[in-house]
């Protein structure tokens, strides 16, 4: 499948990369409010249901035997977190469009990922901290004796002045580095 990228004067068809980035954005204040309201409503209903079950058990004279079961159920249900809705933004989105890394609103990131397009269980997840900056690029190497450039995916972040980088080779090997000084040919690209 090809994705569209619209520049000022033309539309480019972009083939999907083997490894693609995606980010989950922090919830908006509105989304947090909605989740809090839903949690309150859910908790109120659970309390009512708990009380109803206690009353029923009491009337049946089995409250002593049922109490633990009812409270176990109640505690389990009320401890479930209702997460606020969080926007996702992907390099190749579900509407068929390609996005550049520069389009990411980095101040809103909750989690940044690089995943293999045909198997998203193969991925690098970076829980985000304030002040982090994404590094995403392609390092293209034409090793000695070869006539074609090989594409290496570079994904990581800069934080407190230091870089943390993952280089993904054409064979999907992941090489971790603290900087961009690496002889990719020497390590077998």
């Amino acid at each position: 499948m090809k994705y569209k990228y619209i520049t000022e004067n033309k539309t480019i068809e972009v083939p999907k990369e083997r490894w693609c980035w995606g980010v989950i954005y922090k919830p908006t204040p509105e989304a947090i409010k909605i989740a809090e309201r839903e949690t309150e409503e859910r908790n109120q209903k659970l309390k009512e249901e708990r009380n109803k079950r206690i009353n029923t058990a009491n009337k049946m004279g089995v409250l002593g035997a049922k109490r633990k079961e009812i409270y176990n159920w109640y505690n389990k249900e009320i401890s479930r977190t209702i997460r606020p809705f969080m926007d996702e933004f992907h390099q190749f989105d579900n509407d068929g469009y390609f996005h550049k890394v520069g389009e990411i609103d980095q101040d809103r990131i909750y989690m940044a990922s690089l995943y293999k397009a045909d198997d998203i269980s193969k991925r690098i997840d970076i829980p985000w901290r304030e002040g982090m900056r994404i590094i995403h690029k392609y390092t293209n190497v034409r090793p000695a004796g070869e006539a074609e450039f090989k594409r290496i995916y570079v994904f990581g972040f800069k934080y407190q002045g230091k870089e943390h980088l993952n280089y993904i080779t054409p064979e999907d090997r992941i090489i971790m580095l603290p900087d961009q000084e690496v002889d990719l040919v020497e390590i077998g690209i």
């Binding site: 990228y5 972009v14 390609f98 890394v101 392609y138 190497v141 450039f149 594409r151 570079v154 040919v185």
Partner: protein, 167 residues
Amino acid sequence: MAAIVTIDESNGVGEVQEVDIANSNMGNVDDAELDPVAYPITPGENSYEKWQRFHVSDMNGSSEISNLKVWRTGALGGAAVHKTNARISDYGGAETYAKPVKTASAVADQTMPTSAPASANLGIGGSLAGALTVEGYSDYLVHQIQTNVADVAGSESVLNFQYDEVA
């Protein structure tokens, strides 16, 4: 999204350009993809200079090409040296094309690195920090092998090229 990047070589007085060279074979003739067996470097003499460039023929939506690196793999025979204008500091800026010569190069006066340099060693627009944001060329990579009379034919070394792309 991948920019289309090739390594192109310029030869001759009128700068005949060979696009997307398959190799950087060096020898006793000013030609791209030369046959080193047919045109070996005479011991004690030099190869013809190579004048090569990264060529971005289509950005294809990418934002930037930068951080160009060039280095050699393989040892040279005898006391031969491989000289280049590529360097990671005190860069001499963009060279203006001149017909490759086999006298000692006045442009290639640094030793070609034998492992990936820590940072860019070939410039764009005369600067190692330069970047291509539209189609175009890097600065010329000029390099030459200079041999000693005692050297014998038979060594083999090849060039690595690398660039970064942001999309």
